[in-house]
């Protein structure tokens, strides 16, 4: 529902929705499935993003386990070569595009407006549209499994290998079009969150008073804004080649096979930072809270994040050292790659010094954050070894690379995401995740991931190539470095890792059945999202706070004691929120739910289906999109006041915000 009336709980608001587009009445349900499907509330959408991402995490995880089962013993028979190709392609695609990115989008959607003291994002309907595009794009991508086989060219889908000659099934078509749809989601969310941050911060919140998570998310949105269109071009070229006979990657016509690689990695390298920076943001929130100290060198963390965002555009060709770029390019990209390790190192130092001398509180969230620092550093260091081009030539396309990016993505991004789960769970669901199960979750994941990905360094340096679907006893070698032993260790590790994640799911289930409510401020937190009820109200804040400090919430709770120069608590979260409620804004207009985002997003996979099977279907999809676009444009995002006439109250409506 779109209006919050207070303080008249006895007289519910009567809603008489006007027709939009002369056809449909606005959706008004505030309960049941309709309240989710047509919602434009950033918090509900954040949860929907996270649930979708978690689903795809499990799908991608099962794919990973099948890969490890296949490689556990010599002459693996679990998958045939063709299915194995599809499995690693879809594992990577799912984890990158359908798990980490949407999960980060979920966190961003939920917490970014709360952290900057806003009541919603700048474009609430665009937000809903982004979510549905992602969901439909993800489903569309995976439908290929049932329609002749999934994409099988590796997640970077190098052309000309991804052309119809080598990938004759429709898998690559589904992949290209599905990512195109998911890309629309990234683009809309980038525009939306950038404008939200630029325009909708609470009074007094200058950019340098913004919580660090919001900062990192902002950098990520700029990366998305400029990286997504590049892969859009690459995907269009690939699609035109496969479906309309274009020659872009046809070497016989004089095409340059490096064109795809350049376009893909100009997107692909910023993408790496798109995947890691949200987790950097999360642990930069978690570490200060559980060290009971402010973040060490906040401006350094901000600017090193921004520096990563800039330099991230100048290192893409380090993915292509083995492709014969020429010595000058290789030298330039080699040096740039070493340089980008510097701002990352700055962050590691800042986090370490945040903990230095702090009163450390080893909650599960804190453990995951520390896990990130340690394991990301391992992955970062193996990354620096790639930046040395001669060494990289040896490592290219071996398991050493696989080890590296799993340490930075699993040891980095995923651990950060889990830190975020445990830290923010009480805020989102009003209940605490079990710390005991959390400890099991953490240690099993840490042991599992080191057992899985650690041996891959050895496998890679011993020469086991990536994407190899079988290994044979005869060629596994002998002694400590034989491939057989380390492959089975990695496979056992992957199941320990899976059990760790299963324990997280059990933890969620147990927590949801536990009737005990979480306290308002269980961690003695520092930023504005904690200055709301658990879970936050639909309109987030009863009063929009005026910000005076970095870590505003902390500074409202604590004051410096003049005599001892220590911080002493002067009030509690409960009191602060009670005070807000007493001075609550009387009438708050929130944007109203809408049908159009989901309808518009639904048209996209229909068009994509049509491009693969029959142009007639594409025309139907086009009509849906056009129809929904007009419906959208002609509907104002907040229902007119006449929709909310409350016959029981003659109170004059006052617009806030």
């Amino acid at each position: 529902m779109a209006i919050i009336e207070r303080p008249t709980p006895a007289a519910p608001v009567v809603v008489t929705p006007t027709e939009t587009y002369g056809l449909l009445k606005r959706p008004v349900s505030s309960t049941g499935w309709r309240s989710w499907v047509f919602t434009i509330d950033h918090k509900k959408l954040g949860i929907m993003y996270a649930v979708t991402a978690m689903f795809f995490f499990i799908v991608g995880g099962i794919e990973a386990l099948l890969i490890r089962l296949q490689l556990a013993a010599p002459n693996g028979k679990v998958l045939n070569a063709d299915l194995y190709n599809q499995m690693f392609t879809m594992h990577a695609t799912t984890m990158v595009f359908l798990f980490i990115m949407p999960m980060a989008a979920g966190f961003a959607n939920y917490f970014l407006p709360l952290q900057i003291g806003a009541r919603d994002v700048a474009f609430p309907r665009l937000n809903a549209f982004g979510f549905w595009s992602l969901l439909f794009g993800g489903i569309f991508l995976n439908l290929a499994w049932f329609l002749g086989g999934a994409a099988d060219g590796g997640w970077f889908m190098y052309a000309p290998n991804s052309g119809p000659v080598f990938s004759p099934s429709n898998g690559v078509n589904f992949w290209a079009l599905g990512l195109q749809i998911a890309g629309i989601a990234s683009l809309t969310s980038a525009i939306n969150l950038i404008i939200t941050v630029l325009n909708m911060r609470a009074p007094g919140m200058s950019l340098m008073k913004m919580p660090i998570f919001t900062w990192m998310i902002t950098v990520v949105q700029f990366l998305l804004l400029f990286a997504v269109p590049v892969i859009t071009v690459a995907l269009f070229l690939l699609m035109f080649q496969r479906n309309f006979g274009a020659r872009f990657f046809d070497v016989a016509a004089g095409a340059d096979p490096l064109l795809w690689q350049h376009l893909f990695w100009i997107f692909g390298h910023p993408e790496v930072y798109i995947l890691i920076l949200p987790s950097f943001g999360i642990i930069s929130e978690v570490l200060p809270v559980f060290s009971r100290k402010p973040l060490f060198g906040y401006p350094f963390v901000v600017f090193s994040g921004a520096a990563i965002g800039f330099v991230g555009w100048g290192v893409w060709a380090h993915h292509m050292f083995a492709s014969g770029l020429g010595p000058v390019s290789v030298a330039v990209f080699s040096v740039a790659t070493m340089a980008i390790a510097v701002p990352t190192g700055v962050k590691i130092i800042n986090w370490t010094l945040t903990m230095w001398g702090g009163k450390l509180w080893f909650t599960t969230a804190m453990k995951f954050a520390i896990g990130l620092i340690v394991l990301f550093t391992v992955g970062g260091l193996s990354g620096v070894t790639h930046s040395i081009a001669p060494s990289d030539t040896q490592q290219t396309d071996t398991y050493y690379i696989v080890a590296h990016f799993h340490y930075v993505l699993f040891g980095g991004s995923v651990l950060g995401i889990f830190a975020g789960f445990y830290y923010w769970w009480p805020k989102v669901f009003g209940k605490m995740l079990s710390e005991k199960l959390g400890s099991w979750n953490f240690w099993l994941m840490i042991i599992g991931l080191n057992l899985t990905f650690g041996p891959m360094h050895i496998l890679g340096l011993q020469g086991q190539p990536r994407r190899m679907y079988q290994w044979t006893e005869a060629r596994a070698g002998e002694g400590f470095f034989n491939l057989a032993f380390w492959n089975s260790v990695a496979s056992i590790g992957s199941f320990i890792l899976a059990i760790g994640i299963l324990i997280f799911l059990i933890n969620v289930w147990v927590t949801s059945r536990n009737p005990q409510r979480a306290p308002l401020d269980p961690w003695d937190a520092r930023s504005l999202e904690w200055m709301t009820s658990n879970p936050p109200k639909e309109h987030n804040f009863d009063v929009i706070p005026t910000v005076h400090h970095l870590d505003e919430f902390f500074h409202r709770k604590y004051e410096e004691d003049e005599a001892t120069h220590t911080m002493k608590q002067i009030t509690t979260a409960e009191d602060l929120i009670a005070e807000q409620e007493r001075n609550a804004d009387r009438h708050i207009h929130m944007p109203s739910p809408s049908y159009w985002p989901i309808v518009l997003a639904f048209g996209l996979p229909v068009i994509a289906f049509g491009l693969i099977y029959s142009y007639l279907i594409a025309v139907v999809g086009g009509v849906i999109v056009l129809f929904a676009a007009f419906g959208w444009a002609l509907e104002s995002s907040t229902a007119p006041e006449s929709d909310f006439e409350n016959p029981n109250s003659s109170a004059e409506l006052v617009k806030h915000d």
Binding site: R119, D120, A122, F123, P124, L187, A190, I191, N192, I194, I195, L198, N199, M200, R201, L225, F226, A227, V228, P229, V230, T232, V233, A234, F236, L237, F240, F244, G245, A246, R247, F248, D250, A252, A253, G254, A255, D256, L259, L263, I266, I588, H589, M590, P591, F630, A633, L634, E635, S636, S637, T638, K655, D657
Partner: protein, 195 residues
């Protein structure tokens, strides 16, 4: 579009919708950047079919480019009329802009047909594929612009537009000018600079 809860002008002093359009156009720069790079890489690669210099009709394309540039002028006049709240003139200039845009797209259709008859198909050569892709993407952008302009005229006539009229006209104008500027770059790189 703008709305009550979010219509306020925040930190930057520019409204959300207008700033959103600027961000989108920033993203579009990279889209055309990728397409133009592809064309520049492939423009001289002709293994069969005509070369660029054999088929380009520079005087014809110059005229249609001039028409498109003039549409930017009429768009400015439409925005100016919208700011003065003059619905009649706004409608007039928006219609003229759309007509000029349609003339340009018509010219492009004619040009594509002529090139095709002279032997340059989409699959003929790398030059063919990348030429049609780049100019085709631009043509689609102009077409989307025309649809937006005509919708604006329709909506203004029924005067049922949510949000502030003048601002919506201005935002469509931003998009239109961007598409024009991209054409100047494409025209220069594709037609004027010899391979």
């Amino acid at each position: 579009m703008t709305d009550v809860a979010h219509g306020h002008v925040g930190g930057t002093g520019i409204s959300n919708v207008k700033l959103g359009m600027w961000a989108f156009l920033g993203s579009e720069c990279l889209l055309f950047g990728g397409l133009i790079s592809t064309y520049m890489l492939y423009r001289g690669r002709v293994t069969g079919g005509p070369r660029p210099s054999q088929i380009f009709d520079i005087p014809f394309t110059s005229v249609s480019s001039f028409v498109l540039l003039m549409s930017s002028l009429t768009m400015v006049l439409a925005v100016s009329a919208a700011h003065k709240d003059d619905d009649r003139k706004t409608n007039l200039w928006l219609t003229v802009t759309a007509l000029l845009g349609t003339t340009f797209v018509g010219g492009q259709v004619y040009e594509f047909t002529a090139f095709y008859k002279e032997g340059l198909g989409f699959s003929t050569s790398l030059f063919g594929s990348s030429f049609y892709t780049l100019t085709g993407f631009h043509g689609v952008h102009v077409t989307v612009g025309i649809i937006m302009l005509m919708s604006l005229v329709g909506i203004l006539t029924r005067s049922s537009m949510p949000g502030k009229k003048a601002e919506v006209v201005e935002i469509v104008g931003l998009y239109w000018h961007f598409v024009d500027i991209v054409w100047i770059i494409i025209f220069t790189l594709v037609y004027l600079i010899p391979v």
